[in-house]
Symmetry: C2
Subunit: 164 residues, 2 copies
């Protein structure tokens, strides 16, 4: 698999939180049940994202997680880097130690091309760009959760106070 399960869950959750860009925190249990991810496992994943500075968290009732920056400033690259490490963007197919242009392996040229494409695209794809595209259509985020529903959800659980 290209990305670890942890990473996929993290990305899904980040998109979900981004969709709920209200002024309150989104609780992890809500994300987990909505996205059908193990709550306890997701907890660990989101801790990685907060420790990496991509999200902020708040304990207690009305607690949860929220984006640490604007959605347009969090890219796929950031998310993958925070959970799986950026190795996928820098490492190589054959992963030979100390390789480079001076002593390349036979796959070097082709691989660096793929790698750089992957890097630019994942840097350009942000939570905002994904959300924008998603709200146009009735795009889904998980098997049951569709992006457009986020509007209704915001209403039903109207917040009292904002962040921090």
């Amino acid at each position: 698999m290209m990305l670890s399960k942890s990473c996929i869950y993290g990305i899904q959750a980040a998109i979900y939180v981004s969709a709920h860009d209200s002024e309150e925190y989104v609780s992890i249990s809500q994300i987990a049940s909505e996205l059908k991810i193990s709550f306890h496992f997701l907890t660990k994943v989101l801790q990685q994202l907060t420790q990496a500075g991509l999200m902020i968290s708040y304990r207690g009732p009305k607690g949860g997680v929220a984006l640490a920056r604007a959605a347009k400033d969090i890219s796929l690259y950031d998310l993958v880097g925070a959970i799986d490490s950026t190795a996928i963007f820098t490492e190589c197919l054959l992963g030979l130690p100390g390789c480079g242009v001076a002593a390349p392996c036979p796959a070097h040229d082709h691989w660096t091309k793929i790698r750089s494409e992957l890097t630019t695209i994942s840097r350009r794809v942000t939570l905002e760009s994904m959300g924008k595209k998603a709200s146009e259509l009735n795009v889904r985020l998980s098997e049951e959760f569709r992006y457009a529903q986020s509007q209704y959800l915001d209403h039903k659980s109207a917040p009292a106070n904002g962040h921090v």
Copy 2:
């Protein structure tokens, strides 16, 4: 990691065998010691490649493995598909079940682009194309083994009989 260890070993070994495109079989123990891969583990990996029809094997003294087809007809896509499965080329970032254009996730557009690039390139890259590029320069295949050395190796262990 993008590709499994098994897959990386399989690719390395395939390139090595391709470099030794003589008329005899290359023994797995030779590949393993030259490429610094565990012999017993490489054995399993190469069994996958022979079972997938990419290599042929022969037991007994002077036995070993050889390419089942011409080097130009074995692509990176084939190798990855045989060992890690082609899921990496078909599956998705979020890997949602039953997804598609009708019910795409927010990452769909960007991801399909990356995926198709990856597919075309890995289909185009063959053992031959890698070998061609490698013999021009003194390109290396593992930490110690350089491609150009394959010429000398062919001489030192001159074969008596050919394949099958």
